[in-house]
């Protein structure tokens, strides 16, 4: 098993849970350690309960894991909720002045900090947080220097006095722990690597910048708003026009307008906003104007649970906009993939002049992951497709010759942008002929309609060839095959490792491209499997139903979770064992962490 270490920090919103989290994340990544962070929170600005999990280790950490090694409850509520999670070898650092501990499990250690003796709490309201960070680092065997560096950076804008006050408090916590608490049995290692730590939202925004996006617009909606924030903050440096729009209907149409004028254009939202964008996607398809729309799924329906994760929008995306039209839909597999997928989907959308949809979710959008900076490639392949932005030098164009919707074998018609002399045409949401003249009203014509439908739909064949089929990872002849899509990649991967370690060999089929699905390739993989289970974060098995509708494939079982929280590896491991024992075909693991 991989060596990892997990810190859980719990408290009320506004109590400063994020700051110690950020400090730990910086220290770990600068130490050359990988990390994965997930914050379980609520739609409340002050109060409520949030629980941040940071898991670190020398190898890639793909999910939040099953175990908390160090618990830092910032209030009594957090102590009450989470002390029971701790098992043998774990520790809990807490403010002994204000928090009464419960009885920990055997082998779990309580580490009370006499906060008012160590710091002047009348001056510094978050002193307990800083003391706990210092104490925690001492127990992990990390030198104080790294914390001093991060605190200095963090507070340097506020002046030397604030820096030295905070460093002093942290030092007091560090020294107190060194003197009074037992260190963890293995110190956190150090490597020569350096990692960037980013959320899926930042990754998708940066992926957009790398792809050459010049127009981004949005209406704020959790959990997609982080994309807007990064875009807005970096717009001027990156040369991107970023607008906040009155509603998501305006968003998608504004994005289509910019795309039609010839720039790469992107927007992001969540399920509710996506519902408003639906008609616009049809416009993008009909006018053959490529646009990329990101849906960061949250638990629905309706306003649902705005701060909780789900994979519940698949059928909305599949059914978005009326009529048949070509499009491409991708689900990023992890936070690094959130970056890579954007240039890839833009190339396909541009080549085939159709909408591209990225189906992300809160787990990736707001989770944080360490990435090797080399994997954040700001010079990816950019293929704008058959785009005309200047008059033809051969002089072959000109009025009366250019047909915007020319019928071609590939279904792709060269796209001229407004401003180019000799190519004036009308792009229409009504059905039209090759010239762009409407054939929906006065000139209704079944033959032309059929020809235009077939022209557009021929692009599907090209899209299928441009998108790779999924591949099976792990041994071919495994006892069990776990099938997932998008963000569950990491947790399924770890579940497979645990199962294999326990004598049940497991492999994984993770779907990244939802449309086109490559059903034949999937069937070809699945025909050699022994026992298949589809794992997904929704109630009805949306992917299982989709796979069945496309391929008639029915798996042996299902593991589903729809409580708002992501899977933990043991949820999947236990469900697999339950199903192999023949007890059930459908497992719905309970989430033990009370958030």
């Amino acid at each position: 098993m991989k060596q990892t270490f997990t810190i859980g920090i719990g408290g009320a919103a506004g109590q400063g849970v994020a700051t110690p989290g950020d400090i730990f994340a910086k220290i770990f990544s600068r130490r050359g350690l990988h990390l994965n962070a997930y914050n379980a929170y609520q739609s409340i600005i002050r109060g409520g309960h949030t629980f941040l999990t940071i898991r670190t280790g020398p190898e890639r950490v793909s999910n939040m894991g099953d175990r908390v090694d160090l618990l830092i409850p910032l209030n009594q509520d957090a102590m009450n909720r989470h002390l029971g999670l701790l098992t043998d070898g774990a520790a809990c650092i807490y403010n002994a002045d204000t928090i009464t501990p419960g009885v920990p499990a055997k082998g779990a250690v309580l580490c009370p900090l006499p906060v008012s003796k160590l710091a002047d709490i009348t001056r510094n309201k978050v002193a307990q947080n800083t003391l706990a960070v210092g104490a925690g680092l001492s127990m992990m065997g990390i030198g104080f220097q790294s914390l001093e560096e991060v605190l200095t950076e963090q507070f340097k804008k506020k002046g030397d006095a604030v820096v030295s006050e905070n460093v002093g408090i942290a030092r007091a916590g560090y020294d107190y722990a060194t003197a009074h608490f037992e260190p963890f049995p293995w110190p956190l290692p150090m490597t020569n690597n350096r990692y960037a730590v980013l959320s899926g939202n930042i990754a998708m925004a940066m992926g957009g910048a790398a792809a050459g996006v010049k127009f981004y617009c949005a209406y704020p909606m959790s959990p997609s708003t982080g994309v807007l924030h990064w875009m807005a903050a970096h717009a001027r440096k990156a040369g991107i026009m970023v607008r906040q729009v009155e509603d998501e209907i305006g968003v998608v149409n504004m994005a289509i307008g910019a795309a039609h004028a010839g720039v790469r254009s992107m927007c992001a939202t969540s399920g509710g906003g996506f519902a408003l964008m639906s008609e616009g996607l049809g416009l993008s398809a009909m006018m053959e104007t490529p646009v990329v729309v990101i849906d960061c799924q949250r638990a629905g329906p309706s306003t649902g649970v705005p701060t909780k994760t789900e994979q519940g929008d698949l059928w909305q995306i599949l059914g978005a906009a009326f009529g048949d039209y070509p499009r491409v839909i991708a689900a990023p597999l992890d936070i690094g993939d959130c970056f890579k997928i954007i240039p890839e989907i833009f190339n396909i959308a541009d080549r085939f002049q159709c909408p591209g949809i990225v189906l992300c979710d809160l787990l990736l959008s707001e989770g944080r992951l360490s990435e090797d900076p080399k994997d954040l490639d700001f010079a990816p392949v950019v293929d704008r497709g058959e785009l005309i932005t200047a008059p033809s030098t051969s002089g072959s164009s000109g009025d009366g010759v250019y047909k915007r919707y020319k019928i071609t074998e590939s279904g792709i018609s060269p796209r001229a942008v407004p401003g180019v002399p000799g190519y004036a045409h009308t792009a229409a949401s009504d059905e039209h002929d090759e010239d762009g003249v409407l054939i929906s009203d006065e000139f209704t014509n079944p033959t032309k309609r059929r020809n235009m439908m077939e022209k557009r739909m021929r692009k599907v064949t090209g899209i299928e060839a441009a998108v790779p089929p999924p591949v099976l990872s792990g041994p071919r002849d495994a006892d069990i095959t776990l099938i997932g899509w998008g963000s569950t990649k990491g947790v399924i991967e770890e579940a497979c490792e645990i199962l294999t370690g326990q004598g049940i060999s497991a492999n994984q089929l993770q779907i990244r491209w939802l449309v086109p699905l490559h059903g034949d390739a999937i069937l070809n993989i699945l025909k050699d499997t022994r026992h298949t289970i589809i794992v997904e974060n929704n109630y009805s098995g949306q992917f299982a139903r989709y796979l069945r509708s496309e391929t008639s494939y029915v798996p042996n079982g299902y593991i589903r979770k729809y409580d708002g929280e992501p899977f933990m590896p043991h949820h999947i491991v236990e469900a697999v064992k339950e199903q192999l024992g023949g007890k059930s075909r459908l497992s719905v693991p309970a989430h033990e962490i009370l958030v």
Binding site: R236, G257, V263, H425, T426
Partner: protein
């Protein structure tokens, strides 16, 4: 609206003729609007490839198909949102948005208000016939109270929207009203609207001869009074414009209600566009900038 440098080629009426003839009913007010737009573009000598005519859905929204410029015939109510995107991606283009009262003030009402406060540099011409025509005669947001239609057979019980007052309140920087039966004034207002650098709103009475038997040419003619004939009218006075906008009944003003030139258009307020249209911008992020983006995360 900014005027694009004219190409050397002379722009003639024939150059602006669309691929097909309008399918509007004989006598429709929209013919007059189309002619006035074409005349204005000839007068201003703006080459057709630098003009994008963008519409939503409805009788009048078929407009882009009948004029030889770049055109977009989009979704019901969404033309202004799309036009904003086009303008921001290539602000050298002249943008005309055309549509009807249902498209603009009903389903598109949200975009109408916000496009005005943003001062997007375009000319928005609403062919206002106070009825839904293409859906065969239902009450529109500008239908008068009491008007009987297929959707309100016992008479409209809802007050109509006042587009001029709304535009004034929302912050449009050029606001005018025309009549499709007054070609000369209409052409002049269109030219002024195109040349104005900011959001130009032109509400045009464009009678529906098939479904609206209340607001006919004959009904309008005796009531319309040109603002330019009133020596006391000062189009820079917002309060006076608001008072004029409330006139309705025996006297209905047409002409330029209001114009202010001290507000930068949206594209002029964002430094990202200082280097020129985004369409021509380098798509690659410079390596040092990309490096700084990653460094922030370390």
């Amino acid at each position: 609206m900014a005027t694009v440098l004219a190409d050397t080629k002379h722009v003639a009426m024939a150059d602006l003729k669309g691929k097909v003839d309008p399918d509007w009913c004989p006598g429709c007010g929209d013919f007059g609007v189309l002619a006035a737009v074409q005349k204005a573009l000839v007068d201003l000598q703006i080459p057709n490839h630098n003009v994008v005519t963008i519409s939503g859905i409805g009788c009048s929204s078929n407009f882009p198909g009948y004029i030889n410029t770049y055109g977009m015939h989009t979704l019901h109510g969404r033309a202004l949102a799309i036009a904003t995107g086009v303008k921001l991606a290539n602000h050298e283009l002249t943008i005309l948005v055309t549509g009807g009262d249902g498209d603009g003030f009903g389903i598109g009402g949200n975009h109408f208000v916000h496009s005005m406060r943003r001062n997007v540099d375009l000319l928005y011409i609403v062919m206002d016939n106070q009825i839904y025509g293409l859906t065969t005669g239902q009450t529109s947001p500008t239908s008068r109270m009491g008007m009987k239609t297929k959707s309100m057979p016992f008479g409209n019980i809802e007050a109509p929207v006042n587009p001029i007052s709304l535009a004034l309140a929302a912050g449009a920087t050029f606001i005018a009203r025309g009549f499709s039966g007054e070609q000369k004034q209409l052409t002049d207002l269109i030219k002024q609207g195109i040349q104005h650098k900011g959001f130009s709103f032109l509400d045009v009475f464009s009678p529906c001869v098939t479904y609206n038997h209340d607001n006919t040419y004959q009904w309008f003619r005796p009531r319309l009074k040109k603002l330019e004939d009133d020596p006391a009218h000062d189009p820079t006075d917002w309060m006076a414009a608001m008072r004029k906008s409330l006139l309705w009944g025996d006297e209905i003003p047409i002409g330029k209600f209001f114009e202010r030139t001290d507000v930068p258009p949206l594209h002029g307020a964002e430094p990202v566009l200082n280097a020129g249209p985004l369409l021509h911008a380098d798509t690659r992020i410079p390596p040092d900038v990309a490096h700084s983006f990653v460094e922030e995360l370390m």
